[in-house]
Symmetry: C2
Subunit: 338 residues, 2 copies
DNA sequence: GGAATTTTGGTAACCGGTGTCAGTATTGCC
DNA sequence: GGCAATACTGACACCGGTTACCAAAATTCC
């Protein structure tokens, strides 16, 4: 071997062996346009022979940014967070990028300072923000100021394709509720998500629109608020079931709350779906782990996360890519005709 | 402000203002022993005043390692992975460390090369390996070779406190099965975990030992193998229930499979716990999201992950720390006396 | 009191890349 | 053939820290 020492090859080794300057090697690595084809091939051959890999720390120092993506979230649902992670990891596999995760507490007074420190310290290449954090427009300004590219995951059809990847939850819920109407249900309850969540507002709006379209009542006694947790779903479900004219079907704004509603029904001796039909949202693992298997709406989280990561890594290539993803309605056994 | 330019303060700014050399500032940052107390205080005052934070990329380059921990896993259970992540993040919050996640496919032929590349490229400070990957002793050699400190999470009481954080699953299962015996059960089935998992082997062994101690049969027709997924639990549960002398209680090696067993019981019209008692393992979210709520064993995953991270960050301080964690038996409604 | 020893601080080199800018081939054009 | 324009390439400083080495000062020892 033409190198002294036993360490890994550096750019100097490549330059020396290829008989060029290290700057030229750097040009090859960074795909500079101004480069003679013959030189490029010669250098690439040496790189391949030596198995040279540029040192990411040195590049980070010189370029002032790391080849690392950050995932920022404050999410009550483990399965969803993990799906997002998997999607991002799908996209960066086979690239030089890595993924740093950074859960935060969205109620913390130091939230902004915390996120700012995270991005500054790590010199992130880009960040992805998950809902409900992503709904806060103030973050956009922060990221712009820090010169850090970003993508916000959302659940409404807004207009900023460069920085948003979203699904159309409202329409998805309209279709789910229309399905209940088709099955003969007239009293259809809603378990809302927490206030301040756009996804919750969109799903609620979908329910209102579907009920309105079917000429059915959609007043306050058919609604109960939860906060996307199992326990809150159980309480909201109990409130709806115990009302003086209880619904024959309930749409819960996520699967975990739907499981809570199921729980509440069981505690009252109701059979699902005979006495009460239930539809959830998300199609997380719990949907098929409960009995009966839950009719729900699948959100292509993993594909959305992949798309978000690609937008960050190579904005030009991903420019044309869709940024509005469609949901699938998944009919299982938790709904019966009435 | 006493600095030129609008960027962040560098070590040179601190040195100039404090009237010392950057070498001295570096000594302060790295807590060198050989340092005059007055000098240290003066420098620390300037650091505080300027809000100086050392540039991690520059340090990484010079020190040849990043202040970053890696989490390597190939785990079927989302909730558990997220718990591990949370635990590690608990430990690094308020420190300069960050967490890089790196899921792998343990059946991939390039597994070792992949992990090696990950550690070399990122110059990790240390890595934490989750089961079942952590059960492969070959990794220890790899990490030693790379000079990367590591901690393996495990589920058996082995002897290597510096590199292991573990729980005593066998004893936990003994106690869980003894509880079933106390409740009058004599035919107690086992849904095993997948082959090649130490956690599965330990839990199975615990079942054998408890049955043996109670003088009960623990032969092959009381055992069915699953692979830690819901569907496999359902199939294993079906096999046990359909046997010619079915068990009155089943211990499943994790919660997800226990949910599968519950599913199988429902499909056959059995009432849980009246006709069949079920115990799971892990106490993940699903345990309380199904009906009836699952009696299970809680594994202090988050605390274990915290401990693992602390062992990496500050081995001396964490040296004395416990590395064997105890489980809690959680009695809920899925077991009835017989 | 002077030499030996221990602290402490400064200088320069280095970690492994990238940016600037000047210098050298090559090409185009008259 | 001469000159300018253009295409490549390389020397050198720099990113922001750390370490090696050395000199100066303070302390201890005989």
């Amino acid at each position: 071997m033409a190198r002294k020492g036993g360490g890994k090859p550096t750019i100097n080794d490549v330059a020396r062996i290829a008989g060029v300057s290290k700057k030229t090697v750097s040009r090859v690595i960074n795909r500079s346009e101004l480069l003679n084809e013959a030189t490029r091939e010669k250098v690439e051959a040496v790189i391949a022979e030596l198995g040279y890999v540029p040192n990411p720390q040195a590049r980070a120092l010189a370029l002032r940014h790391n080849f690392v993506l950050g995932l920022i979230y404050d999410n009550p649902n483990a399965q969803m967070v993990l799906n997002f992670q998997e999607g991002v990891l799908d996209a960066i596999r086979e690239t030089e990028f890595a993924l740093l995760i950074h859960p935060v507490d969205r109620h913390s007074p130091s939230l902004f300072a915390d996120i700012r420190r995270f991005i500054e310290r790590q010199r992130l290449y880009g960040v992805i923000i998950l809902p409900p954090l992503s709904e806060n427009d103030a973050f956009a300004a922060l990221f712009d100021e820090l010169g850090c590219s970003y993508v916000r995951m959302g659940s409404a059809a807004l207009d900023d394709p460069a920085h948003l990847v979203q699904s159309n939850d409202r329409q998805a819920v309209r279709e789910a509720v229309a399905y209940l109407v088709e099955q003969g249900h007239r009293q259809i309850g809603l378990v809302q998500g927490p206030e301040g969540f756009r996804s919750a507002a969109e799903r609620e709006q979908g329910w209102h629109e579907a009920m309105e379209a079917a000429g059915l009542p959609h007043g306050g006694d058919l609604m109960a608020r939860g906060n996307y947790t199992f326990e809150s779903g159980r309480e909201a479900g109990a409130a709806l079931i115990d009302a003086k004219s209880p619904p024959s079907a309930i749409f819960a704004s996520n699967d975990v709350m739907a499981a809570g509603v199921l729980h509440a029904a069981r505690e009252r001796g109701l059979d699902v779906p005979r006495d009460l039909s239930i539809i959830g949202f998300d199609d997380t693992a719990i949907a098929t782990a409960i009995w009966p298997p839950l009719t729900t709406v699948r959100w292509p989280i993993r594909a959305m996360a992949r798309s978000a990561a690609r937008k960050l890594i190579d904005p030009k290539a991903a420019g044309e890519e869709q940024s509005l993803f469609l949901t699938d309605f998944i009919a299982r056994a938790s709904v019966a005709p009435r």
